[in-house]
Amino acid sequence: MFSPVTLANEVIKLATTTSTENSGLLGALLPKFEAESGYTVQVIATGTGKALKLASQGDVDVVMTHAPDAEAKFIADGFGIEPRGIMENDFVVLGPKNDPAAIKSSKNVTEAFSKIANKPSKFVSRGDNSGTNMKELIIWKAAGITPDFAGYTSVGQGMGKTLLMANELQAYTLTDRGTYIAYKAKLDLNIDFEGGAKLANPYQIMLINPAKYPELNHKGARALSDWFISPATQTMINNYKVQGEQLFKATYKK
């Protein structure tokens, strides 16, 4: 395969979260976009915190994350424009098969977390400012708990690594469903709690304010954002399955 050297303006740098990358969704979608548009997309997969930081520093052309509060701030601070909700999946609470803190019967996730803290059971936190980590901290706050009980372990690593650690320690942890499904075969853990509005996990794609960084590839960024909300792509998102399970629900509404 001989490919001509890509011009700088044909490259789109996309900062996104490890969950979209680890789940294989981008690997399935982006080649189609590249074939249709002629752009090359370079994916920088990191935690939501760093993805937004890269975007606010003008190090990337476009950003796709899943932390509504942090995204609202990113827009309010004037770095991001035109946020579009493109899809969602949900978070689940994984734990040992015997569910030592008996969270299965909880009414909602805050109650489940309270049980874990009061038992106290082992809980592994990503502790890396990722969207998942931010979500977890919001739940602790809602439960009125400062997470410093004996079994609380903050590991500062990506989702996949955190799942493997929770598995080794036979601890509870909060994960997005996508990464869980991708790792399911390796894990000796069950979903001990799921469901409820608090565990919804919406993803947004945002453009970067040209007034702040005029030199970025805004044309390419817009093309990518438009492509993600097109009916064909939204259908592809719904049809993307890992081990027979749908990971993401397309949510773009005009």
């Binding site: 935690g47 760093k50 890269l54 890396d128 903050s154 590991v155 500062g156 690593q157 650690m165």
Partner: protein, 235 residues
């Protein structure tokens, strides 16, 4: 970079100089884990280095080459090995050492032993065998004679120890894998730098980097002055 690097550097220094408990906890873990690993490894490694230099058992050549090779093996490979040993269904799974300081110490011992063995073997090989034979014929015990040799070779042996220590203090792969970067437990300087960088919090990463940089400077300075002393003197 929208944060000016000067501002970052300022923040980094203020973290260090205000004795930010978070930063100093990480520094403390780094040093205590690596120090224990080094202490446990020193004596067996030096004895093994001595045996490789002075005895002629069969297979010595193989062991020597093996040690030389292990010196340059990536630390993540050692990390992987220790991880597989300590994992729940691993050979040593019952120890429950994975993601603990004990596990990290084990990994770091395996990383620094080859360096210590190889360098001490080189030191012992450089020495005149007659000194050894003389002290043995004078009736010195085996241990005593080795001790005499070590005192004779204290500079190159110290160099070996410093080299081993700096290798484990700065390695990230094995600590990350086996220790798991757990806050206040197994988060050491290199893994914390990796984490803070991935979070985009550069000030703390720079502060910790400075600690390693200063340490490297101090160690190099000591090494330099030791080497200066170790130059062959005319008798």
């Amino acid at each position: 970079m929208s944060d000016g690097w000067l501002v970052l550097l300022q923040q980094a220094f203020s973290l260090l100089l205000s004795f930010d408990p978070h930063v100093w906890a990480i520094i403390n873990i780094s040093f205590s884990v690596s120090f224990v690993a080094l202490l446990i490894t020193i004596i067996p490694s030096i004895i093994l280095g001595f045996i490789l230099a002075f005895s002629h058992f069969r297979g010595r050549w193989v062991v020597t080459n093996l040690v030389q090779t292990l010196q340059s093996i990536p630390t993540v490979v050692i990390g992987l090995l220790v991880y597989l040993l300590l994992t729940r269904n691993g050979v040593l799974g019952d120890l429950k050492w994975l993601f603990t300081q004990k596990g990290m110490i084990l990994g770091q011992m395996l990383i620094c032993a080859p360096v210590l063995i190889a360098l001490s073997q080189a030191a012992f090989s450089s020495v005149d065998r007659r000194a050894w034979e003389t002290s043995r014929t004078l009736g010195a015990s085996w241990i005593h004679a080795v001790w005499t040799l070590c005192r004779e070779l204290r500079v190159p042996l110290l160099l070996a120890i410093v080299a081993g220590f700096s290798r484990i203090l700065t390695e990230v792969g094995c600590s990350m894998m086996v220790g798991g970067n757990i806050m206040n437990v197994t988060r050491n300087i290199p893994t914390a730098i990796a984490l803070e960088t991935s979070k985009g919090d550069f000030a703390q990463a720079i502060a910790l980097g400075l600690v390693l940089l200063i340490l490297a400077l101090v160690l190099n300075f000591i090494l330099g002055s030791l080497r200066g002393k170790a130059l062959p003197r005319s008798h």
